[in-house]
Symmetry: C2
Subunit: 339 residues, 2 copies
DNA sequence: CAATAAAAAGTGATCGATCCACTTCTGAGT
DNA sequence: ACTCAGAAGTGGATCGATCACTTTTTATTG
């Protein structure tokens, strides 16, 4: 497996009968050349199948045109988001380096610090929660895909707040009065946000919450949350952290003889493929993760290039989907009868 | 956001009181230095927080220590595999560049060709099917995570073959005689393999298959496959391409009044989190995608370094899991009664 | 048409590492 | 004490781009 040595800018220059600087200019901005010269260079580039050596360029310019995306190992892998982020970055001429870090938020923060000072990337996108002491600023721009939240909080609005409210108001409209929230891993601000909006909304509407269970995004956590409830708690509606948790909740309910949605309404989050075809199909929130990722990359590139932050692409990325797992609550004595 | 200029090998050398070459030697092989010198260099490196400029190194050595992973956009994103691949590569001192390509196998093949001759990566791992005219060899090593299949075929064994056989034999043992296979996207060799082993096994055991539906890994394809069946086809067992498809099959069956597993047994593939908590819970095959990815990276690194291919880590990466979606078939007249 | 400004092209230095061809040390054997 | 092999260290060339300047060409204008 021997690689043919790729041609250099000098070889192109020689073939085109110009200086290497002219070729360099051509690479930066084709219009800065006289048409006649441009054509000569163009031909030479094509003839030699020339492509610039990015290492050499990066050495001189001190820019790498490379972004790092840091994510946590484990479940909940943001595949669609990563895929969209990579494509967006490529279109802008940047490459994506994936750094998958085992361990908690502090470990990831350390890795990010390391990355930032390594000089190997022009910017970093953190797709998982990180525990970064923001006191010391990093050497390169950092965008957290979670920062949506803090930004939005400034505007008096938490990420996902609208949807959580819509869900609870909908359920309350059906007649539900007693709720349970099985939250996601509280390391994630998305999980924290939904939890706090849940509590706010319950309070505001004068409803009752039998509590919030801090889960870990797993189906098991949903199952356990439900099976641990006292029989007479009166819960008729559950807001789960995501579809997987919702699935666990439904299964746990059934193990106690509570049918969904007859005895219990359950809401998920994420609109996963299986949820639509499950029985009962899951009421959920569809999230445009691709758009979120594109936004995050655009913000990062803007920061790198010192431009103002671009507009968020749309406010209505998410929407609530109503399916079979939600229904009016049973009559007051309904459940004891069912047991 | 101004970056402090990182220190160079010369600065380290000056602080340590040695020449830059000595520092370079230290970086390559710490043991080639006299202990006294080594300590001086070690101290200077730490004091200046020195880290070598990889662009400069790469320019000189003509190696990048970077691998590209090519994947397709869309559903079925191999998140766990990617994560494991990245970690394995990092441990070996390689970085991972993710290239997510929209379009079909030919588009991906073109992108791979482009990547290979770009000189930016030392090797490529293709995690999605590609249509590569193998005639012209690439400039850098390429490993397809699907190549498992072809390799294994040489040994008379297709990937996943054991599991498909085990599934069908199990179902036959329960009394099933008439089968349906809802296959995955035939672009993927995993889908092709399972399909052909399905057909072989049906044949070998003298069972009946009402056909193979070529799907696209989606739940909808499973739903459609079932609802399109004639009422009197007599199918009592379905082997689905994966868990999502299986979910669609189950839902489709229910829409016709066929209960799973009473009237129909359904097998999935992948052991996704939701499948275990669905009702009925899915019989499936658990796949160790992390191990597969690690294997693939190891093979790629071996090729890059010109070493012989390493041993596959284990033959028994997969195992069949029996859950509620499979049971003995109904008595011969069972279904018509249910309708 | 000459003067002059502006645009285009060329020259040589530079980025920060490794590698090569040497020179200088070190220490064991006689 | 002397030799000499081999280890340790040195200076300078080199990789392939960009950049700051300088020089040449082209266009403009009175």
């Amino acid at each position: 497996m021997e690689r043919k040595r790729p041609s250099t800018i000098h070889e192109v220059a020689r073939l085109a009968g110009v200086s290497h600087t002219t070729v360099s200019r051509y690479l930066q901005d084709k219009d800065s050349l006289k048409p006649k010269t441009r054509i000569k260079v163009e031909y030479a580039v094509k003839a030699l199948d020339y492509r610039p050596n990015l290492a050499a360029r990066s050495m001189r310019t001190r820019r790498t045109n490379r972004l790092a995306i840091v994510l946590a190992t484990g479940p909940n892998f943001p595949g669609r988001a990563l895929s969209a982020a990579a494509e967006t970055a490529h279109q802008a001429g940047y490459q994506i380096e994936v750094v998958s870090v085992e361990g908690g938020p502090r470990v990831r923060a350390a890795r990010i610090d390391e990355l930032a000072r390594s000089g190997q990337v022009d910017g970093i996108l953190a797709m998982s929660s990180i525990d970064l002491k923001s006191s010391r600023s990093l050497e390169v721009p950092l965008v957290r895909s979670e920062i949506h939240d803090e930004k939005l909080r400034v505007l008096g609005e938490l990420a996902g707040a609208t949807e959580v409210r819509e869900i609870i108001e909908y359920l309350a409209g059906l007649g539900h009065r007693t709720f349970l929230h099985v939250a996601g891993d509280q390391e994630f601000s998305s999980a924290r946000n939904r939890k706090s909006v849940y509590l706010e909304t319950i309070e505001r509407l004068g409803l009752r919450s039998v509590g919030v269970v801090d889960g870990d995004w797993s189906a098991q956590s949903g199952y356990d949350a439900i099976t641990a409830l006292p029989a007479d708690c009166g819960v008729t509606a559950v807001v789960a952290a995501n579809d997987v948790v919702a699935m666990g909740v439904i299964r746990g309910a059934r193990s106690r003889g509570w049918e969904v949605p007859r005895d219990l309404s359950v809401f998920g989050w994420d609109d996963e493929a299986m949820g639509q075809f499950a029985t009962p199909s899951l009421s959920t929130v569809s999230v445009d993760r691709e758009a979120q990722a594109r936004d995050a990359i655009h913000r990062l590139l803007a920061e790198i290039q010192g431009k103002p932050a671009p507009e968020r692409s749309a406010r209505t990325l998410n929407h609530v989907i109503y399916r079979e797992s939600t229904a009016p609550p049973p009559p007051a004595d309904g459940r004891s009868e069912a047991q």
